[in-house]
């Protein structure tokens, strides 16, 4: 019980406008575990991730990080966010800053480090994602895969308890996907706690300890990575066969 880093209970989200995107989702993520969330488009995967990070406020439900309830209006959002890394589909690098500055920014202004300390850590994480050779480039001059690796490094630098990946590869060309997945796989091997929303079924199967299949705002099926081979529910079967056709 103690090693549950992240607990989501009965999470519900109704967007203003009335879309009931998530209708009661509960799951737990253990320390060092990597959980993949799959599901068809519009099933509420991104919404769940954003609620965890409190980029949006859940309508109902409880989210706990290390046993602490974080969706309480009095909790310090910035503190919580700095403990939860987030990697976006569209990278969202700060385009006016060089690669190195992209990473040191959070360390300096959130962690209050000085230049030397922050650059030391930045170089370390850039080494982990294999981007040491481009530290002086502006994001606009990087390839998609490189951008995403820098974005991962940016999350890593903050030493988060858990990193949330929202379709980290779906904006990339197929030949660039490899390097990013390679990086994430490396993190999983190092024992990083991760929640990964992805459409790469094979990658999910390969990397994730557990897979959650969401449909229409609910968890339809949940289990170890072999549920991909032997899906129990019809929905997941349909989904997988639809994915295979692509």
């Amino acid at each position: 019980m103690d090693d549950d880093v992240l607990i989501v209970e009965d999470l519900e989200k109704i967007y203003s406008g009335g879309v009931h995107a998530v209708r009661g989702v509960s799951f737990k993520v253990k320390k060092g575990e990597s959980v993949a969330i799959i599901g068809s488009s519009g099933s509420g995967k991104s919404t769940v991730l954003r609620c965890i990070n409190r980029l949006i406020e859940p309508t109902n439900g409880i989210i706990k990080l290390n046993g602490e309830i974080i969706n309480n209006p009095l909790a310090d959002v910035n503190e919580i966010r700095s403990k939860i890394g987030m990697v976006f589909q569209s990278f969202e690098l700060f385009s006016h800053l060089k690669v190195l500055e992209n990473i040191t920014l959070g360390l300096k202004h959130v962690r209050g480090m000085n230049k030397e300390e922050s650059e030391k850590i930045a170089l370390e994480v850039l080494d982990r994602v294999d981007m040491l050779d481009r530290i002086d480039a502006y994001p606009g001059n990087l390839s998609g895969g490189q951008k995403q690796r820098v974005a991962i490094a940016r999350s890593l630098a903050m030493h988060p308890e858990v990193i949330l990946f929202d379709e980290p590869t779906s904006a990339l060309d197929p030949e660039l996907i490899g390097s990013v997945l390679q990086t994430i796989r490396g993190l999983a091997d190092e024992g990083m706690t991760m929640v990964i929303v992805t459409h790469e079924i094979n990658f999910a199967k390969d990397v994730a300890d557990r897979i959650i299949y969401m449909d229409k705002g609910l968890i339809e099926e949940e289990g170890p990575s072999d549920i991909i081979e032997k899906p129990k529910t019809d929905r997941l079967k349909e989904f997988l066969s639809a994915m295979d056709e692509e």
Binding site: L74, R81, S82, F88, F94, G140, M158
Partner: protein, 861 residues
């Protein structure tokens, strides 16, 4: 491959050294262009005649010929003032005086010598007086009779070829005699002036000021019939004007206060002669090379230059043909001729010919340069103010904070602001003036922020603001109390109470009602129609608006039930409906006077219209009432007070106001209406005064700080800076509204993911704004901001209406003086162009400098 596009010309392509030389030469041209010599030169030219006699008298006859007389009877003839020659003299006596009129030229001197000549003949005729006296002055009266005065006080008139003795009533020395038609004046020693009204047959003593009672009045003269002047040998100037219709000039004399260093009435020069060129322009001569001009009847006497080497020359007489051409004569055979009324020529800008462009520029460059500097000053401060205010407004406009969040999650902060910050600042304002009030407010805010950081650093469990955390179960009550205090204010005795919303509305309405402006009816609309009426007291109007806002907020807070449910909204709507229908019903029943209700078409239409508006608004406010069911997801409510974004609303109000009123009117409202410049000046003077007191406790540091404070005080809040301050604020505040929209647009153009990414690494909203969003947004909006700033420069010309002497106003002044409309406005235009163009170049440089590779399409590489 496409051929690489080359820019045809770029500033950067010029080598740096050339650029420096370019700027240096511009600076040299502007600052070091020599001012042409600002000296004076004499306009007296010496006439060369081979004679060393002292010349004592000079006249110019009606032909325009000069006659100069001197010792040993020497007579010099200056034909048309150009051909000078010595003529044969009938006498060898020293000639001391001379006069002429249309027909005669006459001269007289020592030992009773008198000679005359008719204009048309060349022959001098001798009519000496027997008694060998020294004749000091000779003049010709209206009958062409020669009249002389002597050193012994005698007056003789040459009548019918005989000298006739006239009773002079005195034995004082008589120095000068002059005639204007039949009137004559004689001056003498002991301050004596005699006057005659009958061609010199009888004389009477005229009053002279006490101060010259001991002086010798050595020269006296008329200017036509309406002005007379006299001088004493000690340098006093006397003046006589016609006092009434019955008296003539010369009856009463006043002494002129000559503006010299010690304001004495004397010039400390031994004067020798006087020549009156016009009613106010007089020329004086004296010993020691003294020639002086007064253009204002003797108030200001300016000594004029003689050619070099004549510093000690005794000048004896002067004769002017008109106000410009004339001669002076002196000892040692000196004659000087002028064509300029004897007035010195300022060398370098002599007789400014404003239709000559060079001289025009020389004359106006100071004005225009001052104007340019003044414009640049307000423009720079205006741009800075506008930019920072614009950024703040843009951030307010894009801020997502709703009223609900503000009250709910920042309850502690709000409480401290409402119950400590604002009351203390209001007290401070009332006690010490607005300057210290603002100062108190700012310091309370910054102190509490610092305290908060300190407390929350120590506390690992960082809770609430300043470590205060209101427990969950009490939060609603606190919010309700907050609402109540908004309604009723802080009632403290002693006139220091702070009005709540209700009080504000009430007093504002009473104010309106008290004016009794044509309406005694309790009809609300009739009262409201006069909101604009209390001219000079728009503050009642503002009080009303603020009162309504506070009351609304107060009611909301009181009605809230913790979770800010929809019930609140419906309650709010209910209140709105009650107000609406109260207004409509009073309007109906009071307005139409139902007793004698006329069922005519016009009344019916009004009735119907009112009811129609009422029902329409009711339906808008409660749109789904008819369906008898309210869904959970009913989001069609038009007004949801809790989703109000206060920051956004304030910023929107601000920008709407400034973008929808003419800048010219804003200038006048801010300067004349609000007197912003004056208030800021007062605050500034107070504030710098306080700073100076504080700095006086700092010991040796004071020597360093106090001049700085002094300088700031002088340059920002000094006398005459009101319109300057007002201009800066009018320009800045106006520009801020436009810059705000530009910056907001740029912020909106940044993908929302950037904000999410910033927040997700733990930065605060403001931190993300500052470090991520704004740096990108500003880069995007440099070109439109540049437009905005250029606009500001051009709009600065409106500052001329509040009497700030910037470029345009200087232009108007220059036109008023020089009448050179084309050149003046042309130069003003060029000056504006230079300013805006420089600004545009700077911004272009900035844009190029801050360009991020791979971001945006810029046309460069």
């Amino acid at each position: 491959m496409f051929p690489k596009e080359e820019r045809i010309w770029a500033w950067q392509k010029i080598p740096e050294s050339s650029r420096i030389i370019f700027f240096a030469s511009i600076i040299i041209i502007i600052f070091l262009t020599p001012n042409l010599a600002e000296g004076y030169e004499s306009t007296w030219d010496e006439v060369n005649i081979n004679s060393n006699n002292n010349y004592n008298a000079a006249v110019i006859d009606s032909n325009g010929d000069a006659w100069v007389f001197g010792d040993n009877g020497v007579i010099i003839h200056g034909e048309k003032l150009t051909n000078w020659s010595i003529v044969n003299s009938p006498t060898v006596e020293d000639i001391l005086t001379a006069d002429s009129n249309e027909n005669l030229v006459v001269a007289a001197g020592k030992n009773g010598v008198v000679i005359y000549k008719e204009i048309l003949s060349n022959e001098w005729i001798n009519i000496d007086i027997d008694n060998q006296t020294r004749i000091n002055s000779v003049s010709i009266n209206n009958f062409d009779e020669i009249v002389i005065v002597t050193d012994l006080g005698g007056i003789q008139i040459y009548k019918d070829n005989e000298w006739l003795q006239i009773n002079s009533l005195t034995s004082e020395k008589l120095f000068d005699i002059t005639f204007e038609n039949e009137r004559g004046l004689i001056s003498g020693s002991s301050g004596l002036i005699l006057g005659s009204e009958d061609n010199g047959l009888t004389w009477e003593v005229r009053d002279t000021p006490e101060i010259v009672a001991e002086s010798e009045i050595i020269s006296i003269g008329y200017y036509k019939a309406n002005r007379a002047y006299a001088i004493t040998s000690e340098g006093n100037i006397l003046k006589s004007t016609q006092e009434s219709l019955t008296t003539t000039v010369g009856y009463s004399w006043t002494i002129k206060e000559i503006e010299s260093e010690n304001y004495s009435t004397s010039m400390n020069v031994n004067l020798t002669s006087l020549e009156i060129l016009s009613t106010t322009k007089i020329l004086l001569t004296g010993e020691e090379g003294f020639v002086a001009l007064s253009k204002d009847g003797g108030n200001i006497v300016t000594p004029q230059l003689l050619p070099d080497g004549n510093t000690y020359l005794k000048i004896n007489d002067m004769a002017m043909e008109n106000a410009f051409r004339g001669i002076i004569v002196g000892d040692n055979g000196k004659i000087f001729y002028t064509e300029n009324g004897g007035e010195d020529n300022p060398v370098g800008f002599e007789i400014i010919d404003l239709s000559n462009f060079n001289e025009f520029v020389d004359f106006t460059k100071d004005n225009l340069w001052e104007g340019l500097k003044a414009t640049v000053k307000i423009v720079i401060f205006g741009i800075l103010l506008g930019f920072f205010l614009g950024i703040m407004l843009a951030m307010c406009k894009t801020a997502p904070t709703t009223l609900k969040q503000m009250i709910e999650s920042d309850l502690e902060k709000t409480l401290i602001l409402f119950w400590i910050g604002i009351p203390i600042s209001i007290f401070s304002t009332r006690e010490n003036g607005i300057g210290l009030g603002i100062f108190t407010f700012l310091s309370i805010i910054s102190i509490s922020i610092l305290l908060d950081q300190y407390i929350n650093k120590k506390n690992t469990e960082s809770d609430g603001f300043l470590g205060i955390l209101i427990p969950e179960q009490h939060r609603n009550k606190v919010i309700k109390i907050l609402g109540l205090s908004l309604l009723i204010g802080v009632p403290i005795s002693g006139g220091m109470n702070i009005n709540g919303g209700v009080e504000l509305i009430y007093s504002a309405l009473v104010d309106f009602h008290d004016f009794q402006l044509g309406s005694d009816t309790p009809k609300l609309s009739a009262q409201l129609a006069y909101i604009f009426a209390p001219i000079g007291n728009p503050s009642a109007f503002f009080a009303l608006i603020i009162g309504i806002g506070l009351t609304y907020l107060g009611i909301l807070f009181i009605l809230t039930n913790g979770t800010f449910t929809k019930k609140t909204i419906y309650a709010g709507k209910l209140i709105l409906l009650v107000i609406l229908w109260t207004v409509i019903l009073t309007e109906l029943f009071v307005g139409f006077n139902l007793d004698k209700f006329d069922l005519n078409v016009s009344n019916l239409m009004k009735f119907g219209l009112l009811l129609g508006i009422g029902f329409f608004l009711t339906r808008r406010i409660i749109p789904k009432l008819s369906r008898k069911e309210i869904k959970i997801n009913d989001f069609s409510i038009s007004i949801d007070p809790w989703s109000l974004r206060p920051l956004n609303s304030i910023a929107t109000l601000y920008t709407d106001f400034f973008r929808n009123t003419p800048l010219l009117v804003q200038f006048m409202f801010i300067h004349f209406g609000m007197q912003l410049g004056k208030h800021i000046q007062n605050i500034g003077v107070d504030f710098t005064g306080d700073l100076a007191i504080i700095s006086s406790y700092l010991g040796p540091l004071d020597n360093l700080i106090s001049p700085l404070i002094e300088y700031v005080n002088e340059s920002l809040f000094g006398p005459g800076k009101r319109s300057y301050l007002s201009a800066i604020f009018a320009l800045g505040l106006n520009s801020a509204a436009y810059q705000c929209e530009t910056i907001r647009g740029a912020i909106a153009a940044i993908p929302s993911g950037q904000m999410e990414a910033g927040r997700s690494i733990g930065l605060t909203y403001m931190g993300t704004m500052r470090l991520i969003i704004l740096p990108q947004a500003i880069r995007i909006c440099i070109p439109p901001l540049g437009n905005e700033m250029v606009n500001l420069v051009l709009n600065s010309s409106l500052a001329s209406v509040i009497a700030y002497t910037e470029l345009t106003r200087q232009g108007k002044l220059v036109v008023a003086i020089t009448f050179q409309i084309f050149w003046t406005w042309g130069m003003v235009m060029i000056a504006y162009f230079v300013v805006t163009w420089t600004l545009a170049i700077l911004l272009r440089r900035l844009e190029e400098k801050t360009r991020i590779p791979g971001l945006g399409i810029s046309g460069g590489n």
